[in-house]
């Protein structure tokens, strides 16, 4: 199962957005991989691998998931990558 998503957070897939992305990817049983449009896929559970892709805001990535909850994983990761960083950080008081 595969999906192409445009990265919206202004920091791209760097420190904070990347940490959240990896955290979300590891919540699922599915094996999730992420790839830049013109490159090889890497393990989405590896902070090291994800940040070294150097994906900037506005670029597309391919998300590839295999496993029972693959669809749910893709849904959550797509939502995360489509949400500007500020909105998810704006209300920490909950």
């Amino acid at each position: 199962m595969e999906r192409t998503v445009t990265v919206v957070p202004e920091d791209g897939l760097h420190a904070r957005p990347a940490a959240k992305f990896v955290e979300t990817a590891t919540e699922f049983d599915a094996d999730v991989r992420v790839a830049p449009t013109d490159g090889d896929a890497v393990d989405a559970a590896s902070m090291l691998a994800v940040t070294s892709l150097g994906v900037a805001s506005g670029e597309d990535v391919r998300l590839i998931a295999e496993g029972d909850d693959a669809e749910a994983a893709l849904d959550d990761l797509e939502e995360l990558l489509s949400t500007p960083e500020t909105e998810s950080e704006a209300e920490p008081e909950t």
Partner: protein, 573 residues
């Protein structure tokens, strides 16, 4: 050397807080303990036991990171705390843990396996540009944490330094600074680092005397030595003289006044803080600021790959206003083009960038879109909190520039209005930084609610002495009669135009000059938060008549030396 033995040795760096402290030097050198000896022969290592040690070190690292994250979020801010989330992900990174376990299976003890597994990723990030290279620092920080936990290395416990310690270090990481207790640390100095490093931001928000970027020179100071850290002049002095000590100790005996202050005869003067990041807000409140007199917005735009959007800015301005529900927050619109390159903005090389396209000149030109977005966020924030929001434009040189800026505000307001978005038009003002603005201050004042004198730039432009040129540093004194007369002129123009007038340059934070500035008629003084208690105390001691007579004598003087004589006579009385 022998002849110099008793003379204090002074080392120069960048002062990041206008505070001084004296104490006993403690060297913090976490990596010194992490030099590993050669690994034992593979047969002597039990891989199962090593895997268990590694798992245990990771558990403890996670727990430490969680504590440091909470502490930083509470004391500095969410944004600074987020770095620990990335560190936690690195601790659990499968690529790294697989590498460590493979090395353990090859017969290495856990600590050697950790060192091996981090080597390639660190080298990989080091070879990249800018922010990717910063990830190498994060990886080193995580590796060293794991090594320390695995080797039980003695580390100076930063959270429980003895009272009166002066911390000396190569550099301080976010994890390090998060542990510093301002009640115990009398100051710190680092070999590396600049004004915007984590350590500097932390020092300012907690009011710790600090000097960064001293260079290798710092290493000549032995642990246990008496050291003075002067965060104002950027000096680190080993074995200070009794005289130097006394001056360093002097500044901090003033009580913080939370309430606004008046002169002895009842003239009120607003005392506000200059703030460069949200992290500094807390310090401003703690030092008794009545509000923010200069909120620099550049930090929002620097060190990132795209500009902040309207909502992100709105939240920041709202947070600043929320810190002063009864006060005023003066926000300066984006002032770039001088010395601060921003990756996503095109800033062509110019012979004299400070005399080039910067401040309002960019906002009305190439950065018009950014300017509108910033104004939209500001107008919305003005309606969102009870405090007073004021907005001022930097580097204005002509009346038409100001009029164009005011028209942009009107058109943004009209847009918000037709979109049904809640907003309020804030107080609007001009920074008086150019000689041309001082000479047309009457015409500017008629069109706005306030003027704010930026003395650092005004002095460099009036004296034609560049801020970064040390050879003409002597000329850059705001007490030069020419600068004082530009200030005098601006204050008179503000009064004629029914505008209030403030000052937000370094001059405003010098308590020795407070009588002169109050005498000149300034309604507001804005400064680094840490000098607020001294300036408030100086105001409370003043009689307006005395201050005015000092100001008259000073503006009539022919030389800076005469001005100083007048100022000193008044201060000594």
């Amino acid at each position: 050397m022998a002849a110099n033995e008793s003379a204090p040795r002074s080392h120069e760096g960048t002062g990041v807080t206008p505070l001084s402290g004296v104490g006993s030097a403690v060297w913090y050198d976490p990596n010194a303990d992490l030099e590993l000896e050669a690994p034992p022969a593979a047969e002597a290592v039990d891989p199962d036991a090593e895997r268990e040690r590694f798992a245990d070190a990771r558990d403890r690292a996670r727990a430490e990171l969680e504590r440091e994250r909470e502490r930083t979020a509470e004391r500095v801010g969410e944004e600074e705390a987020a770095v620990f989330d990335a560190h936690k992900q690195f601790v659990d990174d499968p690529q790294i843990t697989d590498g460590v376990e493979a090395a353990i299976d090859d017969g290495l003890p856990a600590e050697h396996a950790v060192e091996d597994a981090f080597e390639d990723p660190i080298a990989q990030f080091e070879g990249m540009d800018g922010r990717m290279a910063e990830r190498a620092d994060d990886l080193r920080d995580v590796r060293d944490r794991l090594l320390r936990l695995l080797t039980d290395a003695d580390r100076v416990d930063l959270a429980s330094l003895s009272t009166g310690s002066i911390l000396l270090a190569e550099r301080l990481t976010p994890s390090d600074t998060a542990q510093l207790d301002p009640d115990r640390v009398a100051g710190f100095a680092t070999v590396e680092g600049g004004r915007t490093s984590h350590a500097a931001i932390f020092a300012r928000s907690l009011g710790i005397p600090a000097v960064v970027g001293v260079g290798d020179d710092l290493e000549s100071i032995d642990g246990g030595a008496d050291v003075l850290v002067d965060g104002e002049d950027g000096a680190v002095i080993a074995d200070p003289t009794p005289d130097q000590r006394e001056r360093a100790a002097g500044g901090r005996d003033v009580d913080v006044r939370e309430e606004p202050v008046e002169t002895a005869d009842g003239r009120s003067v607003e005392v506000a803080a200059n703030v460069g990041t949200l992290a500094e807000l807390e310090g401003a409140v703690a030092q008794g600021a009545d509000g923010i007199g200069l909120f620099r917005t550049e930090f929002l735009f620097l060190d990132r790959e795209a500009p902040p959007d309207e909502d992100e800015q709105f939240e920041v301005y709202r947070e600043a206003l929320a810190a002063f529900p009864e006060g005023r927050v003066v926000v300066r619109t984006l002032d770039v083009g001088g010395d601060k390159p921003i990756p996503y903005l095109e800033t062509p090389d110019a012979e004299n960038p400070f005399l080039g396209q910067r401040g309002i000149r960019r906002s009305l030109g190439p950065d018009a879109d950014l300017f509108e977005t910033q104004l939209r966020a500001l107008l919305r924030a003005a309606a969102a909190e009870p405090g007073t929001l004021s907005v001022m434009f930097p580097m204005v040189a002509t009346v038409p520039e100001l009029e164009a800026a005011l028209e942009t505000v009107e058109s943004v307001a009209a847009d918000l209005d037709s979109a049904g978005v809640e907003y309020e038009t804030p107080e609007l003002g001009v920074m008086i930084e150019t000689p041309s603005a001082a000479f047309t201050a009457e015409e500017l004042a008629e069109r706005v609610d306030f003027l704010s004198i930026g003395t650092n730039d005004l002095t460099q432009y009036v004296m034609a002495a560049a801020r970064e040129n040390e050879r003409v540093a002597d000329l850059r004194d705001p007490c030069e009669p020419a600068v004082l007369r530009a200030i005098e002129r601006t204050v008179a123009a503000a009064a004629a135009g029914d505008a209030w007038v403030g000052m937000c340059g370094e001059m405003a934070g010098d308590p020795d000059l407070t009588p002169l500035l109050v005498g000149l008629g300034l309604d507001e003084l804005s400064m680094s938060a840490v000098t607020i208690p001294e300036v408030k105390a100086a105001i409370a001691d003043l009689e307006t008549d005395d201050a005015e007579s000092l100001a008259n004598r000073a503006t009539d003087a022919a030389t800076r030396t005469t001005v100083s004589e007048h100022v000193n006579t008044t201060t000594d009385q």
